[in-house]
Protein backbone atom coordinates (compact mmCIF):
# COMPACT_ATOMS: atom_id res chain seq x y z
CA UNK A 1 0.00 0.00 0.00
CA UNK A 2 1.23 3.48 -0.86
CA UNK A 3 0.05 6.19 1.52
CA UNK A 4 0.63 9.81 0.63
CA UNK A 5 -0.17 12.14 3.50
CA UNK A 6 -0.37 15.90 3.10
CA UNK A 7 2.74 16.04 0.92
CA UNK A 8 4.15 19.42 0.01
CA UNK A 9 7.07 20.12 -2.23
CA UNK A 10 8.61 23.22 -3.79
CA UNK A 11 11.16 23.92 -6.45
CA UNK A 12 12.59 27.21 -5.22
CA UNK A 13 9.72 29.63 -4.69
CA UNK A 14 7.36 27.49 -6.77
CA UNK A 15 5.21 25.11 -4.75
CA UNK A 16 4.45 22.17 -7.04
CA UNK A 17 2.68 19.92 -4.55
CA UNK A 18 0.35 21.69 -2.16
CA UNK A 19 -0.74 19.05 0.28
CA UNK A 20 -1.53 15.81 -1.52
CA UNK A 21 -3.44 13.03 0.26
CA UNK A 22 -3.79 9.77 -1.58
CA UNK A 23 -3.79 6.07 -0.82
CA UNK A 24 -3.16 3.38 -3.40
CA UNK A 25 -4.08 -0.19 -2.47
CA UNK A 26 -2.29 -3.31 -3.62
CA UNK A 27 -3.53 -4.42 -7.01
CA UNK A 28 -5.02 -1.06 -7.80
CA UNK A 29 -4.42 0.81 -11.06
CA UNK A 30 -4.50 4.55 -10.55
CA UNK A 31 -4.02 6.97 -13.39
CA UNK A 32 -3.18 10.58 -12.81
CA UNK A 33 -4.17 13.17 -15.39
CA UNK A 34 -3.77 16.92 -15.49
CA UNK A 35 -2.08 19.77 -17.32
CA UNK A 36 1.65 20.27 -17.42
CA UNK A 37 3.01 21.76 -14.21
CA UNK A 38 0.21 20.23 -12.18
CA UNK A 39 2.73 18.28 -10.07
CA UNK A 40 1.70 14.81 -11.18
CA UNK A 41 5.15 13.72 -12.42
CA UNK A 42 6.84 15.22 -9.38
CA UNK A 43 4.63 13.13 -7.14
CA UNK A 44 5.89 9.93 -8.78
CA UNK A 45 9.55 10.84 -8.30
CA UNK A 46 8.79 11.62 -4.66
CA UNK A 47 7.22 8.20 -4.12
CA UNK A 48 10.49 6.37 -4.75
CA UNK A 49 12.58 9.02 -3.05
CA UNK A 50 14.28 10.46 -6.14
CA UNK A 51 13.01 13.85 -5.01
CA UNK A 52 12.85 15.11 -1.43
CA UNK A 53 9.61 16.48 -0.01
CA UNK A 54 9.25 19.46 2.29
CA UNK A 55 6.48 18.30 4.53
CA UNK A 56 4.06 15.44 4.90
CA UNK A 57 4.80 11.76 4.59
CA UNK A 58 4.90 9.04 2.00
CA UNK A 59 4.64 5.46 3.28
CA UNK A 60 5.25 2.43 1.12
CA UNK A 61 4.10 -0.73 2.92
CA UNK A 62 4.49 1.22 6.14
CA UNK A 63 8.06 2.39 5.42
CA UNK A 64 8.46 6.14 5.41
CA UNK A 65 10.22 6.97 2.15
CA UNK A 66 11.86 10.19 3.25
CA UNK A 67 12.87 9.12 6.76
CA UNK A 68 16.63 9.36 7.27
CA UNK A 69 16.79 5.77 8.45
CA UNK A 70 15.17 4.42 5.28
CA UNK A 71 17.47 2.53 2.92
CA UNK A 72 16.29 3.98 -0.37
CA UNK A 73 18.29 1.56 -2.50
CA UNK A 74 16.46 -1.25 -0.77
CA UNK A 75 13.07 0.43 -0.97
CA UNK A 76 13.45 1.17 -4.68
CA UNK A 77 13.79 -2.53 -5.38
CA UNK A 78 10.09 -2.88 -4.87
CA UNK A 79 9.06 0.29 -6.69
CA UNK A 80 9.73 0.19 -10.41
CA UNK A 81 9.56 3.45 -12.31
CA UNK A 82 9.56 4.13 -16.05
CA UNK A 83 10.11 7.63 -17.34
CA UNK A 84 8.99 9.67 -20.31
CA UNK A 85 12.54 9.43 -21.65
CA UNK A 86 13.24 5.71 -21.69
CA UNK A 87 16.87 6.11 -20.55
CA UNK A 88 18.37 2.97 -22.00
CA UNK A 89 21.93 2.25 -20.91
CA UNK A 90 23.47 2.75 -24.37
CA UNK A 91 26.68 0.79 -23.73
CA UNK A 92 24.81 -2.40 -22.84
CA UNK A 93 22.80 -4.79 -24.98
CA UNK A 94 19.07 -5.15 -24.39
CA UNK A 95 19.67 -8.27 -22.31
CA UNK A 96 22.46 -6.60 -20.30
CA UNK A 97 20.28 -3.55 -19.70
CA UNK A 98 17.75 -5.82 -18.02
CA UNK A 99 20.15 -8.12 -16.16
CA UNK A 100 22.35 -5.37 -14.71
CA UNK A 101 20.24 -4.52 -11.68
CA UNK A 102 19.20 -8.07 -10.76
CA UNK A 103 22.87 -9.04 -10.85
CA UNK A 104 24.44 -6.06 -9.13
CA UNK A 105 21.65 -4.98 -6.80
CA UNK A 106 19.99 -8.30 -5.98
CA UNK A 107 23.25 -10.26 -6.30
CA UNK A 108 21.81 -12.82 -8.72
CA UNK A 109 24.06 -15.04 -10.81
CA UNK A 110 24.39 -14.28 -14.51
CA UNK A 111 22.42 -17.33 -15.66
CA UNK A 112 19.59 -16.76 -13.20
CA UNK A 113 19.33 -13.06 -14.11
CA UNK A 114 19.28 -13.91 -17.80
CA UNK A 115 16.39 -16.34 -17.35
CA UNK A 116 14.37 -13.61 -15.64
CA UNK A 117 15.40 -10.96 -18.14
CA UNK A 118 14.54 -13.13 -21.11
CA UNK A 119 11.16 -13.89 -19.62
CA UNK A 120 10.42 -10.20 -19.06
CA UNK A 121 11.70 -9.19 -22.49
CA UNK A 122 9.55 -11.84 -24.16
CA UNK A 123 6.67 -10.60 -22.08
CA UNK A 124 6.98 -7.11 -23.59
CA UNK A 125 7.59 -8.50 -27.08
CA UNK A 126 11.36 -8.06 -27.32
CA UNK A 127 12.36 -11.71 -27.16
CA UNK A 128 14.18 -11.44 -30.50
CA UNK A 129 16.23 -8.34 -29.56
CA UNK A 130 18.31 -9.71 -26.69
CA UNK A 131 21.76 -9.02 -28.11
CA UNK A 132 20.79 -5.78 -29.87
CA UNK A 133 22.10 -2.43 -28.63
CA UNK A 134 19.43 0.15 -27.70
CA UNK A 135 20.53 2.53 -30.47
CA UNK A 136 19.12 0.00 -32.93
CA UNK A 137 15.68 0.00 -31.33
CA UNK A 138 12.74 2.27 -32.01
CA UNK A 139 11.49 4.54 -29.25
CA UNK A 140 8.60 2.20 -28.51
CA UNK A 141 10.94 -0.78 -28.28
CA UNK A 142 13.30 1.12 -25.99
CA UNK A 143 10.40 2.09 -23.79
CA UNK A 144 9.22 -1.52 -23.58
CA UNK A 145 12.79 -2.50 -22.73
CA UNK A 146 12.73 0.05 -19.90
CA UNK A 147 9.51 -1.56 -18.64
CA UNK A 148 11.09 -5.02 -18.77
CA UNK A 149 14.15 -3.64 -16.96
CA UNK A 150 11.99 -2.38 -14.13
CA UNK A 151 9.93 -5.58 -14.02
CA UNK A 152 13.06 -7.74 -13.78
CA UNK A 153 13.49 -6.45 -10.23
CA UNK A 154 10.11 -8.05 -9.39
CA UNK A 155 8.70 -4.83 -7.99
CA UNK A 156 5.47 -4.73 -6.02
CA UNK A 157 4.59 -1.34 -7.48
CA UNK A 158 5.12 0.21 -10.87
CA UNK A 159 5.12 3.94 -11.53
CA UNK A 160 4.75 5.18 -15.10
CA UNK A 161 5.62 8.79 -15.78
CA UNK A 162 4.10 9.83 -19.12
CA UNK A 163 5.74 6.85 -20.75
CA UNK A 164 4.18 7.50 -24.16
CA UNK A 165 4.63 11.28 -24.33
CA UNK A 166 7.99 11.20 -26.12
CA UNK A 167 6.97 8.53 -28.62
CA UNK A 168 5.96 8.89 -32.24
CA UNK A 169 2.17 8.51 -32.47
CA UNK A 170 2.33 5.16 -34.23
CA UNK A 171 4.46 3.72 -31.40
CA UNK A 172 2.19 4.76 -28.56
CA UNK A 173 -0.16 1.80 -29.02
CA UNK A 174 2.42 -0.91 -28.43
CA UNK A 175 3.52 0.64 -25.14
CA UNK A 176 -0.04 1.16 -23.93
CA UNK A 177 -0.80 -2.48 -24.78
CA UNK A 178 2.09 -3.49 -22.53
CA UNK A 179 0.75 -1.37 -19.68
CA UNK A 180 -2.72 -2.80 -20.18
CA UNK A 181 -1.33 -6.30 -19.99
CA UNK A 182 0.42 -5.51 -16.70
CA UNK A 183 -2.77 -4.01 -15.29
CA UNK A 184 -4.70 -7.12 -16.21
CA UNK A 185 -2.08 -9.26 -14.47
CA UNK A 186 -2.83 -7.43 -11.26
CA UNK A 187 0.25 -5.19 -10.96
CA UNK A 188 -0.21 -2.22 -8.65
CA UNK A 189 0.32 0.78 -10.90
CA UNK A 190 0.30 4.55 -10.82
CA UNK A 191 0.29 5.94 -14.34
CA UNK A 192 0.72 9.60 -15.08
CA UNK A 193 -0.64 9.94 -18.58
CA UNK A 194 -2.16 12.13 -21.24
CA UNK A 195 -3.87 9.15 -22.87
CA UNK A 196 -7.47 9.62 -21.80
CA UNK A 197 -8.81 6.52 -23.51
CA UNK A 198 -6.18 4.45 -21.77
CA UNK A 199 -7.00 6.06 -18.42
CA UNK A 200 -10.65 5.32 -18.94
CA UNK A 201 -10.16 1.70 -20.00
CA UNK A 202 -7.53 0.53 -17.56
CA UNK A 203 -7.87 2.44 -14.30
CA UNK A 204 -9.65 1.52 -11.12
CA UNK A 205 -9.50 5.18 -10.19
CA UNK A 206 -8.50 8.35 -11.99
CA UNK A 207 -7.09 11.41 -10.22
CA UNK A 208 -7.12 14.86 -11.73
CA UNK A 209 -4.28 17.16 -10.63
CA UNK A 210 -4.48 20.90 -11.01
CA UNK A 211 -1.74 23.33 -9.95
CA UNK A 212 -0.34 21.16 -7.21
CA UNK A 213 -3.56 19.91 -5.71
CA UNK A 214 -5.57 16.80 -6.37
CA UNK A 215 -8.77 18.46 -7.52
CA UNK A 216 -10.73 15.29 -7.99
CA UNK A 217 -10.45 11.52 -7.76
CA UNK A 218 -12.93 8.86 -8.68
CA UNK A 219 -13.85 5.86 -10.79
CA UNK A 220 -13.15 6.46 -14.49
CA UNK A 221 -16.83 6.43 -15.43
CA UNK A 222 -17.60 9.02 -12.82
CA UNK A 223 -14.60 11.27 -13.46
CA UNK A 224 -14.90 11.23 -17.22
CA UNK A 225 -18.71 10.96 -17.32
CA UNK A 226 -19.69 13.32 -14.57
CA UNK A 227 -16.74 15.43 -13.40
CA UNK A 228 -17.50 17.39 -10.22
CA UNK A 229 -14.73 19.96 -10.12
CA UNK A 230 -15.00 22.87 -12.58
CA UNK A 231 -11.29 22.57 -13.40
CA UNK A 232 -11.74 18.89 -14.27
CA UNK A 233 -14.57 19.80 -16.61
CA UNK A 234 -12.50 22.50 -18.26
CA UNK A 235 -9.51 20.17 -18.65
CA UNK A 236 -11.54 17.30 -20.08
CA UNK A 237 -13.28 19.65 -22.50
CA UNK A 238 -9.90 20.92 -23.68
CA UNK A 239 -8.37 17.50 -24.31
CA UNK A 240 -11.33 16.07 -26.13
Amino acid sequence: MIEIQNVRKSFGPLEVLKGIDLTVQRGEVLTVIGGSGSGKSTLLTCINGLEPIHSGKILVDGTEVHAKSTNLNKLRQKIGIVFQQWNAFPHLTVLENVTLSPRKVLGMGKAEAEVIAEKQLKHVGLGDKLSTYPSRLSGGQQQRMAIARALAMSPDYMLFDEVTSALDPQLVGEVLETLKMLAEEGMTMICVTHEMTFARDVSDRVAYFHQGIMAEIGAPDQLFGDPQHPETRRFLASVR
Binding site: N48, L50, N73, K74, R76, Q77, I79, G80, I81, F83, Q85, N87, F89, P90, H91, L100, S101, K104, V105, L106, Y133, S135, R136, A146, R149, A150, M153
Partner: protein, 217 residues
Protein backbone atom coordinates in the same frame (compact mmCIF):
# COMPACT_ATOMS: atom_id res chain seq x y z
CA UNK B 1 72.37 15.52 -47.52
CA UNK B 2 72.31 11.80 -46.75
CA UNK B 3 76.05 11.59 -46.62
CA UNK B 4 76.06 11.49 -42.84
CA UNK B 5 78.48 10.82 -40.04
CA UNK B 6 75.69 9.24 -37.97
CA UNK B 7 76.86 5.87 -36.68
CA UNK B 8 74.87 2.96 -35.38
CA UNK B 9 75.98 3.73 -31.83
CA UNK B 10 74.59 7.24 -32.31
CA UNK B 11 71.28 5.73 -33.34
CA UNK B 12 71.36 3.59 -30.23
CA UNK B 13 72.00 6.75 -28.22
CA UNK B 14 68.87 8.29 -29.79
CA UNK B 15 66.88 5.14 -29.09
CA UNK B 16 67.91 5.39 -25.44
CA UNK B 17 66.67 8.97 -25.43
CA UNK B 18 63.41 7.78 -26.95
CA UNK B 19 63.24 5.14 -24.21
CA UNK B 20 63.56 7.87 -21.60
CA UNK B 21 60.78 9.85 -23.30
CA UNK B 22 58.55 6.79 -23.19
CA UNK B 23 59.34 6.04 -19.53
CA UNK B 24 58.71 9.62 -18.39
CA UNK B 25 55.49 9.75 -20.43
CA UNK B 26 54.15 6.39 -19.24
CA UNK B 27 54.83 7.19 -15.59
CA UNK B 28 53.41 10.72 -15.79
CA UNK B 29 50.34 9.81 -17.82
CA UNK B 30 49.56 6.86 -15.54
CA UNK B 31 49.89 8.79 -12.28
CA UNK B 32 48.31 11.89 -13.85
CA UNK B 33 45.32 9.94 -15.11
CA UNK B 34 44.69 8.26 -11.75
CA UNK B 35 44.94 11.64 -9.98
CA UNK B 36 42.90 13.29 -12.74
CA UNK B 37 40.05 10.81 -12.31
CA UNK B 38 40.16 11.29 -8.55
CA UNK B 39 40.21 15.11 -8.82
CA UNK B 40 37.56 15.08 -11.56
CA UNK B 41 35.15 12.96 -9.52
CA UNK B 42 35.78 15.09 -6.43
CA UNK B 43 35.05 18.25 -8.43
CA UNK B 44 31.80 16.85 -9.81
CA UNK B 45 30.68 15.63 -6.39
CA UNK B 46 31.57 18.79 -4.48
CA UNK B 47 30.27 21.21 -7.09
CA UNK B 48 32.00 24.31 -8.41
CA UNK B 49 31.96 26.31 -5.18
CA UNK B 50 33.29 23.74 -2.72
CA UNK B 51 35.92 22.46 -5.13
CA UNK B 52 37.15 25.97 -5.99
CA UNK B 53 40.46 25.61 -4.07
CA UNK B 54 41.24 22.36 -5.87
CA UNK B 55 40.27 23.87 -9.22
CA UNK B 56 42.53 26.86 -8.52
CA UNK B 57 45.45 24.61 -7.60
CA UNK B 58 45.01 22.60 -10.81
CA UNK B 59 44.62 25.75 -12.89
CA UNK B 60 48.14 26.76 -11.91
CA UNK B 61 49.44 23.63 -13.60
CA UNK B 62 47.37 24.34 -16.67
CA UNK B 63 48.29 27.99 -16.97
CA UNK B 64 52.00 28.30 -16.17
CA UNK B 65 54.34 27.14 -18.98
CA UNK B 66 55.72 23.72 -18.28
CA UNK B 67 59.30 24.90 -18.65
CA UNK B 68 58.83 27.36 -15.79
CA UNK B 69 57.07 24.72 -13.66
CA UNK B 70 59.99 22.34 -14.10
CA UNK B 71 62.66 24.89 -13.24
CA UNK B 72 60.76 26.24 -10.24
CA UNK B 73 59.78 22.79 -8.92
CA UNK B 74 63.37 21.64 -9.20
CA UNK B 75 64.62 24.68 -7.31
CA UNK B 76 61.84 24.40 -4.72
CA UNK B 77 62.53 20.73 -4.01
CA UNK B 78 66.27 21.29 -3.71
CA UNK B 79 66.63 24.65 -2.07
CA UNK B 80 63.49 25.00 0.02
CA UNK B 81 62.60 21.44 0.99
CA UNK B 82 66.25 20.33 0.86
CA UNK B 83 65.25 17.09 -0.85
CA UNK B 84 67.90 15.32 -2.90
CA UNK B 85 65.58 14.35 -5.74
CA UNK B 86 66.87 13.31 -9.13
CA UNK B 87 65.88 15.37 -12.15
CA UNK B 88 63.96 12.32 -13.32
CA UNK B 89 61.82 12.29 -10.16
CA UNK B 90 61.10 16.00 -10.36
CA UNK B 91 60.23 15.67 -14.04
CA UNK B 92 57.76 12.86 -13.35
CA UNK B 93 56.18 14.75 -10.44
CA UNK B 94 55.64 17.93 -12.43
CA UNK B 95 54.42 16.15 -15.54
CA UNK B 96 52.06 14.00 -13.47
CA UNK B 97 50.40 17.04 -11.91
CA UNK B 98 50.35 18.77 -15.29
CA UNK B 99 48.58 15.71 -16.74
CA UNK B 100 46.25 15.46 -13.73
CA UNK B 101 45.17 19.09 -14.17
CA UNK B 102 44.12 18.55 -17.78
CA UNK B 103 42.76 15.08 -17.09
CA UNK B 104 40.49 16.30 -14.28
CA UNK B 105 38.92 18.73 -16.74
CA UNK B 106 38.32 15.89 -19.20
CA UNK B 107 36.88 13.66 -16.47
CA UNK B 108 34.63 16.40 -15.12
CA UNK B 109 33.28 17.21 -18.58
CA UNK B 110 32.77 13.55 -19.44
CA UNK B 111 30.88 12.77 -16.25
CA UNK B 112 28.69 15.82 -16.83
CA UNK B 113 28.02 14.50 -20.32
CA UNK B 114 26.24 11.43 -18.91
CA UNK B 115 22.58 12.47 -18.92
CA UNK B 116 21.19 12.96 -15.43
CA UNK B 117 18.07 11.11 -16.56
CA UNK B 118 20.13 8.00 -17.31
CA UNK B 119 21.68 8.17 -13.85
CA UNK B 120 18.27 8.68 -12.34
CA UNK B 121 17.06 5.54 -14.11
CA UNK B 122 20.00 3.62 -12.65
CA UNK B 123 19.27 4.86 -9.13
CA UNK B 124 15.58 4.09 -9.53
CA UNK B 125 16.53 0.46 -10.18
CA UNK B 126 18.01 0.31 -6.69
CA UNK B 127 21.62 0.96 -7.65
CA UNK B 128 23.72 2.79 -5.08
CA UNK B 129 25.77 5.86 -5.97
CA UNK B 130 28.86 3.69 -6.30
CA UNK B 131 27.10 1.14 -8.52
CA UNK B 132 25.74 3.92 -10.72
CA UNK B 133 29.27 5.33 -11.00
CA UNK B 134 30.83 1.98 -11.75
CA UNK B 135 28.36 0.40 -14.15
CA UNK B 136 26.78 3.41 -15.85
CA UNK B 137 28.73 6.65 -15.46
CA UNK B 138 32.29 5.38 -15.83
CA UNK B 139 31.69 3.28 -18.97
CA UNK B 140 29.77 6.09 -20.65
CA UNK B 141 32.13 8.85 -19.52
CA UNK B 142 35.13 6.82 -20.68
CA UNK B 143 33.75 6.76 -24.20
CA UNK B 144 33.31 10.51 -24.14
CA UNK B 145 36.73 11.09 -22.60
CA UNK B 146 38.79 8.79 -24.80
CA UNK B 147 39.56 11.10 -27.77
CA UNK B 148 40.53 13.97 -25.47
CA UNK B 149 42.56 11.67 -23.26
CA UNK B 150 44.49 10.29 -26.23
CA UNK B 151 45.19 13.88 -27.27
CA UNK B 152 46.37 14.66 -23.76
CA UNK B 153 48.67 11.62 -23.61
CA UNK B 154 50.22 12.51 -26.98
CA UNK B 155 50.60 16.12 -25.86
CA UNK B 156 52.34 15.12 -22.65
CA UNK B 157 54.64 12.83 -24.63
CA UNK B 158 55.73 15.74 -26.80
CA UNK B 159 55.84 18.20 -23.89
CA UNK B 160 58.15 15.81 -22.06
CA UNK B 161 60.86 17.18 -24.38
CA UNK B 162 61.12 20.04 -21.88
CA UNK B 163 62.36 17.89 -19.02
CA UNK B 164 65.92 18.41 -20.32
CA UNK B 165 65.92 21.56 -18.12
CA UNK B 166 66.12 19.29 -15.07
CA UNK B 167 68.93 17.25 -16.60
CA UNK B 168 66.92 14.38 -17.98
CA UNK B 169 68.33 13.23 -21.28
CA UNK B 170 65.29 12.29 -23.30
CA UNK B 171 64.85 12.10 -27.04
CA UNK B 172 65.15 15.77 -27.98
CA UNK B 173 68.10 16.35 -25.64
CA UNK B 174 69.86 13.32 -27.10
CA UNK B 175 69.28 14.74 -30.54
CA UNK B 176 70.73 18.10 -29.52
CA UNK B 177 73.82 16.42 -28.14
CA UNK B 178 74.35 14.70 -31.47
CA UNK B 179 73.69 17.93 -33.36
CA UNK B 180 76.43 19.65 -31.41
CA UNK B 181 78.85 16.90 -32.29
CA UNK B 182 77.86 16.06 -35.87
CA UNK B 183 76.70 19.49 -37.06
CA UNK B 184 73.82 17.96 -39.06
CA UNK B 185 70.81 19.62 -37.45
CA UNK B 186 68.19 19.11 -40.16
CA UNK B 187 68.95 15.45 -40.73
CA UNK B 188 69.07 14.68 -37.00
CA UNK B 189 65.86 16.55 -36.29
CA UNK B 190 64.21 14.52 -39.04
CA UNK B 191 65.32 11.31 -37.36
CA UNK B 192 64.17 12.66 -33.99
CA UNK B 193 60.78 13.54 -35.46
CA UNK B 194 60.49 10.06 -36.90
CA UNK B 195 61.12 8.62 -33.42
CA UNK B 196 58.37 10.79 -31.95
CA UNK B 197 56.04 9.68 -34.70
CA UNK B 198 56.82 6.02 -34.05
CA UNK B 199 55.96 6.49 -30.39
CA UNK B 200 52.72 8.41 -31.06
CA UNK B 201 51.31 6.42 -33.91
CA UNK B 202 50.42 3.18 -32.06
CA UNK B 203 48.66 5.13 -29.30
CA UNK B 204 46.65 7.16 -31.77
CA UNK B 205 45.67 4.01 -33.69
CA UNK B 206 44.77 2.20 -30.48
CA UNK B 207 42.49 5.11 -29.56
CA UNK B 208 40.83 4.91 -32.96
CA UNK B 209 40.34 1.19 -32.54
CA UNK B 210 38.70 1.59 -29.10
CA UNK B 211 36.44 4.35 -30.37
CA UNK B 212 35.24 2.12 -33.16
CA UNK B 213 34.74 -0.84 -30.86
CA UNK B 214 32.71 1.17 -28.38
CA UNK B 215 30.43 2.80 -30.90
CA UNK B 216 27.88 -0.10 -30.66
CA UNK B 217 26.67 0.24 -34.20
Amino acid sequence: MFDTALSSSDLLFLAKGAGMTIIVTVISVTIGTVLGILFGVIRVQLGAVLSAPLTFFLDIFRSVPLLIQLVLANAFMGMVLRLQLSGFTVACMVLSLYTAAYCSEIVRGSIDAVPSTTRRAARSLGMSWAQDMRYIVMPLATRVALPSWIGLALGVMKDSALVYVVQVTELLKSTQILITRLQEPLFLLMICGAFYFLISFPLARFGGYLEKRWSND
